[in-house]
Structure formats: structure tokens, C-alpha cells
């Protein structure tokens, strides 16, 4: 049996909950993983101490972990992780790290895993139009999609050790660029409300923003919206040539549901569609479909949600 290693997912300086999902995924591969926490300050790793189903926690401490640098992170983590199968989250950054770590060890990488059965791993391919199941023989590096595996409970008591490590940075940040908005990015959010061409004008996105603020959600957009209106930046685009998202809840408003849009969001856990055309393809993928104009539906949605959150 090969050793299992989970690389903790770090967001805004703390351990992200998907780390607990990675432990469940590792358990499905047949063992209790070591959780390695990349950090500049070892106290960050404390939160991993209670994740059940793990064998122990290593705080991998290095200045290199202050900002993501693929080469340095792979080097610094490779020095700490024992040989074995490594699991990471399937965020863009962690997929990048997974690929570099695998290459460093001359291993193969399997990305975007959504199901595990013994040594067989399943991932969406062709933008989610088909699923691919592969068999791994021996150690590999595996990235796992969020919101697929249940989070391991926080009833564990793992021993935490601190290991210093280093990596040579190959990039240097010159400037952080101001974000267009303080809201979450679609790639990070657990709830997304997206608008399409049916919103009529970029000004009408304020109605989506109001709901996003009520729910702590991100605002996304279709390509038609991004291409048509300068005020809607490409960073909001969901789909084939935008971001691939996997939230718990995706609300599509005035979006027809073109195959390239679906490519970016069809694996969302729950999908709500609001569209005035009952025949819009998005409804075939919606758990809750509302045939109505957004002008009718959004005020009702907003006031009901605001009432719930109050």
C-alpha cells in the first residue's frame, strides 16, 4: 500500500474546507493520509489537527509559500512529502502545482477527479460532455474537484509537526493589480449568480449584485455578456473560454445555456435558471427552473432571500 499525502488547500492564509474533502477522497483510495500544510507561519496548520481520517499533520514552513510560485512550491513540498500518492484540490493553482509535483517525481497526474473506486479515478472530459475513468498503477498525483466528496468530520486529533523547507522562486511579483470588485471571484465562490445577454444592459447587473451580496455569492456572466458590454470583464466569464466553476449553487439569469456555457458550470451541485423562454436549453440542466423575465423574478428572489438571511 502506497502512502497517501494530502496537500492542504490554503485560501486567504487559512486552511480551506476542501482540505477535509481531500481527506475523504484519500480514504476512498484506501488509507489515512498525511496532511501537509504549506505555510509561512506554522500556526496555520493547527486547524488541520481536528480533521478526522488523517494520520498526522506536517506544517511545511517556508518563506516560499508567501506567494504562489510553481517551481518553488513543487521543490519545497517535494522535500517534505514522502513517496506515495499525493492529493490536491482542483483549483487552477493547485492543479498547476499537482502537475509540477508529479513531473518532479516522474509520476503521472490525474486532474479534476470526481469519483474514486479502488484504483480507478473518474474525471469529466470534453468539457463535461463525457466522463473518463482511468486506472492508476503505483503512486500518482491526483487533483480532486471541490463539493464532490463529503468533508471529513472535525473530530480527529492529529499530531502536528513542523518541518522547515525551501524552494527557489522562479517568479517575482512586481505589483498586485486592484480587483475590479470586492466581491468573491467566481472561481472561489460556493454560490454564483450569473447574468447573460438577457439582462439587457450591464446596468441591470446591479440586481444580480444585490442578490450576490445577500448570499455572499460571486457574480458571473456568459460570454455574450462579456463580449457585448465593456463593463462586464472577462474575469467574470463562466464557460469554455472562461472559468470552470463547481459551486454548490449556480443561478443562471437570462442565459440560454449554450454548450460552451454549460462546459463551465454543468457540474454545479444545484442549478437554478431564470429565463423568459421556456424552451431555453438551460432548463434541461436546471434543478429549479423559473420561466419568467428577470424583471419579474429577481425582485421576488431578492426579497425572499433577504428575509431568510435577516
Amino acid at each position: 500500500m502506497t502512502e497517501l499525502i494530502v496537500i492542504a488547500e490554503i485560501a486567504k492564509g487559512t486552511i480551506h474546507t476542501t482540505t477535509s474533502e481531500l481527506v475523504t477522497a484519500a480514504n476512498a483510495l484506501g488509507g489515512s493520509p498525511i496532511i501537509i500544510v504549506p505555510c509561512t507561519d506554522a500556526s496555520v496548520a493547527d486547524a488541520a489537527g481536528t480533521i478526522a481520517g488523517a494520520s498526522k499533520v506536517i506544517a511545511a514552513k517556508s518563506d516560499a509559500f508567501a506567494h504562489y510560485d510553481a517551481a518553488a512550491w513543487a521543490e519545497a513540498l517535494d522535500a517534505v512529502a514522502p513517496q506515495g500518492t499525493i492529493l490536491t484540490s482542483a483549483t487552477p493553482q493547485s492543479k498547476d502545482l499537482a502537475a509540477r509535483l508529479a513531473a518532479r517525481r516522474n509520476l503521472s497526474v490525474v486532474q479534476d477527479v470526481v469519483a474514486i473506486s479502488q484504483n480507478q479515478l473518474t474525471s469529466p472530459v470534453y468539457s463535461g460532455k463525457a466522463m473518463q475513468t482511468v486506472a492508476i498503477s503505483g503512486p500518482a498525483v491526483v487533483s480532486v474537484r471541490a463539493n464532490v466528496f463529503d468533508a471529513a468530520p472535525s473530530t480527529g486529533s492529529n499530531e502536528i509537526s513542523v518541518v522547515d523547507t525551501t524552494g527557489n522562486m522562479a517568479t517575482a511579483v512586481q505589483e498586485f493589480m486592484a480587483r475590479a470588485s470586492q466581491r468573491l471571484d467566481v472561481a472561489e465562490a460556493n454560490i454564483i449568480i450569473s447574468g447573460g445577454r438577457g439582462m439587457g444592459s450591464p446596468d441591470n447587473f446591479v440586481h444580480l449584485e444585490a442578490i450576490a451580496d445577500t448570499l455572499g455569492a460571486a457574480v458571473g456572466a456568459s460570454r455574450a455578456a462579456v463580449d457585448t458590454w465593456e463593463a462586464i470583464p472577462h474575469s467574470m466569464q463562466v464557460g469554455q473560454t472562461g472559468k470552470t466553476v463547481n459551486p454548490n449553487l449556480y443561478i443562471a439569469v437570462g442565459i440560454s445555456g449554450a454548450i460552451q456555457h454549460l462546459a463551465g458550470m454543468r457540474s454545479s451541485k444545484y442549478i437554478v435558471a431564470i429565463n423568459k423562454d421556456a424552451d431555453a436549453p438551460i432548463f434541461q440542466h436546471a434543478d429549479y427552473g423559473i420561466v419568467a423575465t428577470w424583471e419579474e423574478a429577481l425582485p421576488v428572489l431578492q426579497s425572499t432571500l433577504a428575509g431568510m438571511m435577516a
Partner: protein
């Protein structure tokens, strides 16, 4: 003379319907195109050449059928086109090893590729090849500058950052603000006549093998409502039935 290499991959047209017959996808009737993000990589490679001189070589791995994607790159303006001849299905380890050894042999100094291929969506090739070469890498890059060293704009810490990148490097390209040039008549004529340089590379055995393809699990039919007032009920169901808010 800077040797700029751009990795390109042939994939099914993103509009194509994907069918699974038996337990494999059947792509025989599907139109093949250059993977969309590779188009940004080709454009960036050409801009790099235009800014600092050198030559751009498009490299792919595949059977003779993959020559089409190289000819498409040639029509847009790359200088040379090279294919590593391989019909087999490779895992990431075998693929990256073959690419890395070929890049080394070619004397590549900078490599561009798409942030992920439209078929696998994996995004492993760029960073994996960089690691094998011992190079820097920057991924999901939306803008590249060539003045006074290589600089890129890429996602960082939940926003974007401008970063300088050591060279040699592999840069994986996302859609940015750049417009991708289209082939002109002269380019298309040149591409027709262009010779693909065919290379062989040692191929390691794969340790990850495809067991089966299947269609995505069908979603049970959702609930549908008429009229905006139903939004109130849907909000309640999101809380009480779906438990997502």
C-alpha cells in the same frame, strides 16, 4: 536568435457532440480544431518574435492526422512546424517526457502553450514540461510583456499580479485582451506548401490507462415553474430541500 516554441494540440471542435459507443468516445465523425487556448499561445509566441526577434516553432505530438493543426499554426505565421510521431494514447508522464526531451534537443529557450486542452481540461502539460526541464513556469497568464525581461499578468492570491519570470520558462496562456490574428491568403498558401518536420522520441510506458468513457450521469428532471412569483418558493426550496443557502 531566440528559439520560441509553441505547443499545439488538436482537439474535437468545442461545438461537437461527443458520443460514447461501447465504452470509448467515438470521435470518428467529429471535426478537429486547434485547442482554443492554444490560439492565444500561438498569438503570444508571434508577438514575442515580433518584439524581440527569433523564430517560432509549433510543436505537436500525434499521428499524421495532427499535421492539420500545425498547418493552421503555419498559416497564422509560425516559422517552422514539427510533429513528434506517436499514435498511442499517452499518460501525462509519457507525454511530458517526450515533449521535454524534444524541446531540449531543439534548443528551445521559451515555450508557450494553452492553459489547458479542450479535450482533457487538465492543464498539466505546461507546468509538467517546465518541471522536467528545470525551468520556471507561469500559468493561466492573460498578458505577456517582453521589454526588459519576461513579465506576465496571472491570477494570484484571489486577484491578479504582474510578475517577472526567470527564463527559460514555460508560459501557459489564458484568454486575455489580445486579438488572435487570422490567416491571410498568403499564409494559407505557404501553409499548403510547408513541410512538417517529423521527429521520433523515446516513449516511456504509461502508468495511467483509460478504463472506460461514459456519458455524464443524467440529471433527474428538475422542477419547473411559471412566473416570477415562483422565485419565493424556489428560494425556500434552496434552503429546505437543497440545503445550499
Amino acid at each position: 536568435m531566440t528559439k520560441i516554441v509553441v505547443l499545439v494540440k488538436q482537439v474535437p471542435d468545442t461545438n461537437a457532440k461527443i458520443v460514447v459507443s461501447g465504452d470509448r468516445v467515438d470521435l470518428s465523425a467529429v471535426k478537429k480544431v486547434m485547442s482554443p487556448y492554444d490560439e492565444f499561445a500561438v498569438e503570444t509566441a508571434l508577438r514575442h518574435r515580433d518584439a524581440s526577434g527569433g523564430e517560432v516553432i509549433a510543436l505537436t505530438l500525434g499521428g499524421a492526422g495532427a499535421d492539420k493543426v500545425l498547418k493552421d499554426a503555419k498559416a497564422i505565421g509560425v516559422d517552422h512546424i514539427v510533429r513528434i510521431d506517436c499514435e498511442e494514447e499517452l499518460d501525462s508522464n509519457s507525454l511530458q517526457s517526450a515533449l521535454a526531451s524534444t524541446l531540449q534537443e531543439m534548443g528551445a529557450e521559451i515555450v508557450y502553450c494553452g492553459k489547458s486542452a479542450a479535450d482533457t481540461g487538465a492543464g498539466s502539460t505546461g507546468p509538467g514540461v517546465a518541471e522536467r526541464l528545470g525551468w520556471a513556469s507561469a500559468s493561466n497568464v492573460t498578458s505577456v510583456g517582453f521589454d526588459g525581461g519576461l513579465t506576465v499578468v496571472a491570477p494570484s492570491d484571489g486577484g491578479n499580479a504582474r510578475m517577472s519570470v526567470n527564463t527559460p520558462a514555460v508560459i501557459t496562456c489564458d484568454k486575455g485582451d489580445i486579438k488572435v490574428r487570422k490567416p491571410n491568403v498568403k499564409g494559407i498558401m505557404q501553409a499548403k506548401k510547408a513541410q512538417v518536420e517529423v521527429k521520433t522520441a523515446a516513449i516511456q510506458p504509461s502508468s495511467v490507462t483509460i478504463v472506460a468513457h461514459s456519458m455524464p450521469p443524467a440529471k433527474p428532471a428538475g422542477k419547473s415553474y411559471e412566473g416570477g412569483a415562483a422565485a419565493a418558493e424556489v428560494a425556500n426550496l434552496l434552503r429546505d430541500e437543497a440545503n445550499v443557502i
